[in-house]
Symmetry: C2
Amino acid sequence: MINVFGHKSPDSDCVSSAVIATHWLNARGKDATPFRLGEVSRETQFIFDFAGVELPPMLDKPLKGEKVYLVDFSEAEQAPDDINEADLVGIVDHHRLGTLTSSAPLEAWLMPLGSSASVLFELFGIHNVEIPQPIARLMLGALLSDTVGLKSPTTTERDVELVDLLAPLAGVEVESFLADLLAAKTNVEGLSTEALLDKDVKNYEISGKSTTLGQLELADYGQVKHELANMQAVMEQRVADKGLDLAALMLTNIRSEETRLLVAGPLADTIKAANGDSLTFEGFLSRKKQMLPWVTEVLS
Amino acid sequence: MINVFGHKSPDSDCVSSAVIATHWLNARGKDATPFRLGEVSRETQFIFDFAGVELPPMLDKPLKGEKVYLVDFSEAEQAPDDINEADLVGIVDHHRLGTLTSSAPLEAWLMPLGSSASVLFELFGIHNVEIPQPIARLMLGALLSDTVGLKSPTTTERDVELVDLLAPLAGVEVESFLADLLAAKTNVEGLSTEALLDKDVKNYEISGKSTTLGQLELADYGQVKHELANMQAVMEQRVADKGLDLAALMLTNIRSEETRLLVAGPLADTIKAANGDSLTFEGFLSRKKQMLPWVTEVLS
């Protein structure tokens, strides 16, 4: 049996793609089962509810000797710790070629598209596998999530075509589905200050400076207005406790495509000064492709 | 322009696949040119002569900023030293997933088949690209070479099918083509003692012992009978000069699928004793899959 799963801190594309890839592997006569490596977001839950598909179970067994098929990553750091004891039989991905290696020949399908679900759409075509409605809904949800409604700089022309091809298969009116998806993506209702800060935070060492850079995707800044002072206070406390040089949180309005930055720590003023004393960044949607390169340049 | 090439110490599969992949990329509307990283064997020359195709030129430019498309490998050690300065846009391969990484998303097509040419046959199908006779001849030659006439343990059922599909496209009678190919592969006429030893030699550190393990593919042991004493003497000299623990040379008869081992150095008797005082290994064709694992077990 092949264990199919995406990366740690799972997003909608990798959880959906594990289920989509399992369907495709089964159609090719291979015995496969999907898993996930962590709790899912409200957006992922929305997509699965809408598709009428059960979430894959958590992976909770040792991988030693197990056949594994990875979706949406090829980085060792994003895999379970015992990945090197597994028998890696396949990869579907749309990222850079990462640090994982295999001990034996395998199949790997990497394409520079906007989502792993987009790659899987092509693979269903290559292997002549039909796309049933629940799978089409997972594909459409994952593709629209990973490309932030086709607005992210990672979106390709082919992704735009795929949305048009998938919509009738999914039985979905794209605009209204996207609105619901983004509402789920940006739903922060009832989250504590700490949960808001921790929702999607990553650590980086930049030019010898220890920094954290989180991101909170919002439909409207009003959603967190009442929490801003609390978030700032907790960030200041964490900078002091952990000896950080910089803690930053992107508040990204995915409708207006604008990011406001909360900053704390010794380098906060440097960041502010480097953007003309403003903490508003127009056109910034992506941490990986926009904010992180900019911060890196400022600190270098 | 995309630079397409295989690994260092090029074999027939990687040189042929560079040309085959270039044809496929061109048919997909991409501007690509094939290269090779070293001198070719008599077998590779035979395949290209038979196909009526010119050998690709040697790659002799810095790769900084160049687009590169790799065939038949994904190991950093088998690439030019400046591969990390290149823009890696694609890979076609049939080996394990190796140590190379890319900085940006790319396309990668890996399948566990007997040759990279086999993988490319599938890609021509996927992208609906016709296979002209010269390309079919390169594919057939590369596939038969890498699988040693479909006898290697790396051969799959699909490779056997592909030979039947390729033969009419290539306008080739497989048995006679294979006989000519193996004659070219095993042609050692006029090579010096040193050239015979160096034709395909690799260094390994096994359980802390420094060893070399070469391989010479033959159609008949008689081809090197007059050189055996000279080869043994040169190997003894090299062991002494380089302080090796073991030097070994596989004389592989690819018709009878049998390997005789020449050994020199302090561990020579250990090797001999471990095989019942015989240096003949029946059924051994592969250094990677058979001899190296066996030697490793003996020395561990």
